[in-house]
C-alpha cells in the first residue's frame, strides 16, 4: 500500500470539515452524528458501519452512509480510497464492543484488526486528525493501582480478558500510529464506564439486574461518566486540536456498595474464589456473557484522573456520579434531582 507522506496532511478547508465515523451505530457514534449535524462548521459526515444508524432515516442532511465491515481483509484499502475521495480531514474511530461476547475470535478481528485497518487507511489517506474511543478499564483493576490513574499510567489490561486486552492492543496501535505520523493529530479518549438513561453497555446490563455480586469484604471506589457528558467530550475532542490520551471521567467517586444501594440493587456477598468459579461456570455454559475476569473490577480500584481533559480539552463533567446513577435508574429529574455543576462555581 502506498503510504502518503505525513506532510501531506490536508489543512482544514474553509467550506467546512468532513468527518468519517466508524462505529456510528454505537451510542457515542450516533450522538456525535447528531451534534455534527447541528454544528455549521461541519460540512459532511461519513458514516462507516455495517448498517445505517436509525438517525439517518430520521432526517440527517450531512450524514451519508457507506457500508464498511471492519472484519473484511482488504477493507483498509476501501476506507483509504473513501477518505481520499471525500477529502476527509477527521476520522473518528469508535467501532468497539461495549460488552464482552462469546465470539472472541470475531471480537478480536473487529476490535484489534479492525483498528489496524483504520490506522492503515489513515496512514494512506493522511487525515489531519484521528480521534479514537477507548476505556479506562484498559488500565486494569490491580491491587497496586493508585486512587487516581493519570494518562501516564501503563495500560495493563487484564491477564485473561480479551474484551479488555483487545482495547489495549487497539490503543497501542493508535499510539504507534501517532508516533510514526507526527503530523496527524491523534487523540484517544479513555471513557470511564458510561451510564445514562439510553446507553446500553456492559455496565448498564450489569446494573440492570435486581441483584449484583459483591466480593465479600471488598468495596472499591467506582467512577462513572454520564452519557451526555461522554458525548459532549467526544464532540469537544473532534473540535479541538489537543493530542494524546485523555481520561474522560465523571465527577466524584462512590464505593461499589453505595452505588448498588443508590440504585436499589440487592448485593449478594460472595467470597472471591466462589464468585470466580461461579462466573467461570456461567461463562463456560454461555448463560451469561460477562467474562469472569471482570470480577477484578469489583475487588480493586480502577479510577482515572480527568485533569488532563480539563486542561487540554476543556472538558469538565457536568453530572455528578449520583445524578448519573439516578438518571440511569430513571429516578430524575421529575423527582427533583437536578444536579447542576454550575452551582459549584
Amino acid at each position: 500500500m502506498a503510504t502518503v507522506s505525513v506532510g501531506n496532511a490536508r489543512p482544514r478547508r474553509a467550506q467546512g470539515r468532513v468527518v468519517a465515523i466508524t462505529g456510528a451505530c454505537t451510542y457515542l457514534g450516533t450522538e456525535l452524528i447528531k451534534r455534527l449535524e447541528e454544528d455549521r462548521r461541519y460540512a459532511k459526515v461519513l458514516v462507516l458501519d455495517v448498517k445505517a444508524p436509525s438517525i439517518l432515516a430520521a432526517g440527517a442532511t450531512k450524514a451519508r452512509f457507506f457500508p464498511i465491515d471492519l472484519t473484511q481483509p482488504t477493507i483498509d484499502g476501501e476506507i483509504a480510497a473513501l477518505l481520499q475521495r471525500e477529502q476527509v480531514d477527521t476520522v473518528v474511530h469508535g467501532a468497539f464492543l461495549s460488552h464482552p461476547t462469546h465470539a472472541t475470535e470475531w471480537a478480536h478481528e473487529f476490535e484489534d484488526v479492525g483498528t489496524m485497518h483504520v490506522m492503515n487507511a489513515c496512514a494512506a489517506a493522511g487525515p489531519a486528525r484521528v480521534v479514537m474511543v477507548s476505556t479506562t478499564m484498559a488500565y486494569g483493576a490491580h491491587p497496586e493501582n493508585p486512587n487516581f490513574l493519570d494518562e501516564r499510567a501503563e495500560l495493563r489490561g487484564h491477564q485473561d480478558s480479551r474484551f479488555i486486552n483487545d482495547k489495549v492492543r487497539a490503543e497501542k496501535q493508535a499510539a504507534r500510529f501517532a508516533r510514526e505520523h507526527p503530523h496527524v493529530q491523534v487523540a484517544t479518549l479513555r471513557f470511564a464506564p458510561i451510564l445514562g438513561p439510553t446507553i446500553n453497555n456492559l455496565h448498564t446490563r450489569f446494573f440492570s439486574r435486581v441483584t449484583a455480586p459483591v466480593m465479600a469484604g471488598h468495596d472499591p471506589l467506582m467512577q462513572f461518566v454520564h452519557e451526555q457528558d461522554a458525548a459532549w467530550a467526544l464532540k469537544r475532542a473532534v473540535d479541538s486540536d489537543a493530542v494524546g490520551p485523555f481520561n474522560i471521567v465523571g465527577k466524584g467517586v462512590l464505593p461499589y456498595t453505595t452505588v448498588l444501594a443508590l440504585m436499589g440493587r440487592v448485593p449478594v456477598p460472595l467470597p472471591f474464589l466462589l464468585a470466580r468459579s461461579i462466573a467461570k461456570a456461567l461463562w463456560a455454559t454461555q448463560i451469561v456473557s460477562t467474562a469472569p475476569s471482570l470480577l477484578d473490577y469489583l475487588l480493586y480500584v480502577c479510577v482515572a484522573d480527568g485533569t488532563r481533559a480539563t486542561r487540554d480539552l476543556g472538558f469538565t463533567a457536568r453530572f455528578s456520579i449520583k445524578r448519573t446513577i439516578l438518571d440511569f435508574v430513571g429516578a430524575s429529574p421529575e423527582d427533583g434531582a437536578t444536579d447542576v455543576a454550575s452551582s459549584f462555581a
Binding site: 439510553t198 471488598h218 468495596d219 451526555q228 459532549w232 449520583k322 430513571g330
Partner: protein
Amino acid sequence: MPPDDTDPIADDLGAPDASHAPDGDWPSMSDDVYVGGDAELASGDSYDPYPAAADTDDGAEQRELERRVDEGRTPVYPLDDRRRLPLPGLWRRWRAFAMRGRADMVDDFGRDPIATARWEWVLDFLYAKWFRTEVRGLEHVPAHGRAILIANHAGSLPYDSAMLLHAIRRDHPARRDVRPLVEDAVFHLPWLGPLMNRIGGVRACPENAERLLEKDELIAVFPEGVKGMSKLWRDRYRLQRFGRGGFVKLALKTGAPIIPVAVIGAEEALPLLGRVTWFAKSVGLPYVPVTPTFPWLGPAGLLPLPSKWKIAFGPPIDLAGEYGAAAAEDRLLVGRLAEQIRGQVQAMVDDLRR
C-alpha cells in the same frame, strides 16, 4: 478550600439538615430520591477534584446537556424497564434501608462522612476510656497546610493509626482530619480495608501521597510498614528499617514538613508472641498473628488489651527548605535522612517510655 456551603448533591434533593444525622433519624425514608442522609464533608476537603474549566461557561453548555438528557427521556426512547425495579414502593424502602449509615457522596479518596461519624464513638471510647491516651506536643501539628506525620508502628492491627487520627481530630484546636496511609497488606484485607478507607485511610503509594499533599492535607505515614506491625513482643519499641525513604522523597518534592510522632502502648495492646506464615500466604494475609488472646478466643481475641497509651509529637523538620527539591534524586542523602528521622522517632519513643 472552604467547605462547600451549597452542596449540590445533597441540597438539590431537599436534603434534611445536616444536624439530624447520624442520630438514626432518617427523615428521608418516604422520599423517593433522597436516600442516605446528608453528605457534609469535613473542612479541608473539596468534593470537586477538578480545577476550573478551561473556558468561561455561562451555563449554556449545562442547559444544552440537560435538554439532551430530557430529549433522551421522551417516549420515543423509553427507559429500559429492567433498570427500574418492580414494586416501586418496596424499591424505595429498600434504597432508604440500604443507604443508612453511608453517605451518597464521598471525597476523592473514599472517606464517607456518615460512616466516619458512625465510628467516631468507637474510636473515642478506645482513645479516652480504654487506652486513656495522653498526648504531648500537639502544638507542633500545623493548623493548616500540608504536613507529614512520621510515626512508629506496632500491634498487629492498625489501632495506632486510628488513635493518631482520632487524637488530632479530637484534641487539636483545628480538629484536622489526618489521612493515614495504609499499607497494602492491611488495605486489601477483607472488611478491615474498606472500613479504614471509609474513615479516611488511603492506600500507601507515592501517587496518592503526593496528591493528598498537593491538596494541603495532613497525612500520616508509618514507614516501618508491615515489618513494624508484625514486630514481636521481644523486639518491642525497637524501630525497624524506615522503608526505602519514600517519605523523605515525598517531603523534599512537595515541601511538606515532617513531624515525628512516637506512639507508646500499641505494643502492649496486642502483644505479638508469634507469627504464623506457612498458611497465611495462601489466604492472602502477610502473617497470622499469635497473641495471648488470638486465635484462642476467636475474632474477639483481636480486641486490644487496655494498655496505657502515650502519643508525642515532635517539632516539624523542614527538609525541603534545607536541601531543596532536587535532593529527592540523591539516593544516599535520602537514605541518610530517613535513618536520621528514624533515630529521632526512636529517641522520642525511648523518652516516652521513661
